[in-house]
Assembly symmetry: C2
Homo-oligomer: 345 residues x 2
């Protein structure tokens, strides 16, 4: 009888200590992360009206913004594939390969800067890049407005989205519209968001253990904030350079933008939101296995050989970063007419 | 006063005669055309359950069915672009060009046969073609099921769509699912459908005049039925062969399937449903102007030099064949995992 009481006491202590640890974990997590808001954020200087968002969606899906009329934003940033594509690096104009893995468009609005090297300050600036890039959509910047003006249905749509402007069909306005649409592509209410809002059971015990490892080992020194990443730059190989497969010498990352020697092999820390949906990984897209990517991060960024158990826990935690995926109705695009500029062969 | 009465009488006679002519037009049209049903038709031997339709939608949008993992059914049959693409002939694997203009998927379920040469009897059979075609998706037929089995999320989806089957992930079942999804891509309630249901004002006076010309000149001898086409074969150039631009000698059409000499340069009469959305035209996709396409049809098929006024009226009538476009929510696809077969370079 006494032994039984002791046993009960122990169990009760265990519960109390576990509850305390849970509260600690949540408190610690709240210091480092934020849940994804449930409504799209405002973009400075670019008010999101329904007409502008709808126009942006059309442009996002319109392949006629590319020289070939076959590639749209959606080609490499598919809403069905975690906002990215299923390629190491994307296939662009005339089957050329892009230089780096297509980052997800989902929650990109919460990144501090855009592109792997941060060469665009926001979504609006980013949207102009791939359209003009000769290995991506290959549309001369001077041609985009001309193309859109050649599709009569866009006239009213731009006029409504940009009221009071005498010549609303411009590349700059197309970028603004695309940006407000992209800002709607957020994935709130994932298990981790619900946990951060105090729903202790939203994470499984293994996911909680993984979160603890993720913070204890230092992953969250870089992967933090709303996007569990996306907020800073870091050298790839801060402790130990990974092999050339993952870090080919020719791509010096942020250095190509800043020309600052300390920026050699520095890249934007990518968001880990929905990371389970967006293989392959790294700027090279050469890591197809999330477990492998986690292991490489351990050695190259933290100087730690993570154990199989730690890797398991971390990747199970990363699954909790998959949120509610956007519900997007496929837009019906204004048709081409006889005078619409034609695709380049 | 007498002159006034006579004038009134004349006006009243004019109304009566016009009303009679309208009733005649509708009666004549009803003999040749049918409105698009408002619900998807059943496919023989392929019951459309919600789970199968949803699976079919996923497969339709999944680029991992192609060798490159970059091309899906949707790439060339975009729901945003009238169910087709904006190309003369589509861009496929490694930027190869398809041999013929991509036909619209919208209302394709109402075509008697599929492809320009009728080489598939239905949507289910058709769906297998582009996947395996080396210039389109270039996925070996033996590989499709292997690829899908390598994406764990598809397991449950196929099991639900094909209950009771021990090995439901097969190419044949993928084709069935795609077909039932495609059967939902119908565009009912266009002006012409509403007219056929007795709503006289659904067509403008010019559209009615165009419909009359369309029937009187003989266009509807081939372009009739639900799909205003899609129900028969016809030689391109039945009266006068068009130029090689529109009818290149190398593509003998249906003859390539049937090997029957009388099938040389015979093609399926395409549907004219939503034709205003699907430039460019003809199996070559070389006619970018619908007016030009109508004129060529006049000379080549009817031996008639249509006047500008007749062409205007016909093309205005053809606008009335644009129906309500499908509302499709972009599907969220099951993610690849480390063991998922990877894209071919």
């Amino acid at each position: 009888m006494i032994r039984y009481a002791v046993a009960l006491l122990s169990v009760s202590c265990l519960f109390a200590s576990s509850a305390l640890a849970q509260d600690d974990l949540l408190a610690k997590a709240k210091q480092q992360f934020e849940p994804i808001p449930t409504a799209p954020p405002d973009l400075p200087g670019n008010v999101a009206t329904p007409g502008k968002v709808e126009l942006g969606k059309m442009l996002y899906f319109d392949p006629r913004l590319s020289a070939s009329h076959a590639i749209s934003c959606s080609s490499c940033h598919s809403i069905g594939l975690g906002g990215a594509d299923a390629e190491p690096t994307s296939i662009g104009h005339r089957w050329q390969r892009g230089g780096r893995n297509a980052p997800t468009v989902l929650n990109a609005v919460f990144n501090k800067v855009q592109f792997w090297d941060g060469r665009a300050k926001d979504l609006e600036q980013q949207a102009g890049g791939p359209m003009a890039n000769p290995v991506e959509m290959a549309s001369p910047t001077t041609h985009v407005a001309e193309q859109l003006k050649g599709i009569p249905g866009y006239g009213d749509l731009f006029a409504k989205a940009f009221p009071g402007e005498s010549d609303p069909i411009t590349l700059a306005n197309a970028q603004k519209a695309i940006a407000v649409f992209e800002a709607t592509l957020i994935t709130p209410n994932g298990p981790f968001d619900r946990f951060l809002r105090g729903e202790q059971d939203a994470l499984s015990p293994t996911q909680k253990a993984g979160l603890a490892v993720f913070m204890d080992k230092g992953c969250s020194a870089c992967h933090n904030g709303i996007n569990v990443g996306g907020g800073m730059y870091a050298p790839f190989g801060v402790v130990e350079k990974p092999g050339a497969e993952f870090l080919p010498p020719a791509d010096k990352g942020r250095f190509l933008v800043s020309k600052t020697p300390s920026d050699e092999y520095v890249f934007k820390v990518p968001t880990l939101r929905n990371v389970a949906l967006t293989a392959p990984y790294f700027h090279t897209g050469k890591a197809w296995d999330l477990r492998q990517a986690v292991a490489v991060m351990g050695t190259s960024q933290l100087g730690t050989q993570l154990t199989d158990d730690e890797i398991n826990k971390i990747t199970t935690f990363l699954d909790s970063l998959t949120g509610e995926q956007p519900k997007v109705t496929y837009p019906i695009l204004p048709p081409s007419v006889a005078s619409t500029p034609r695709p380049q062969p």
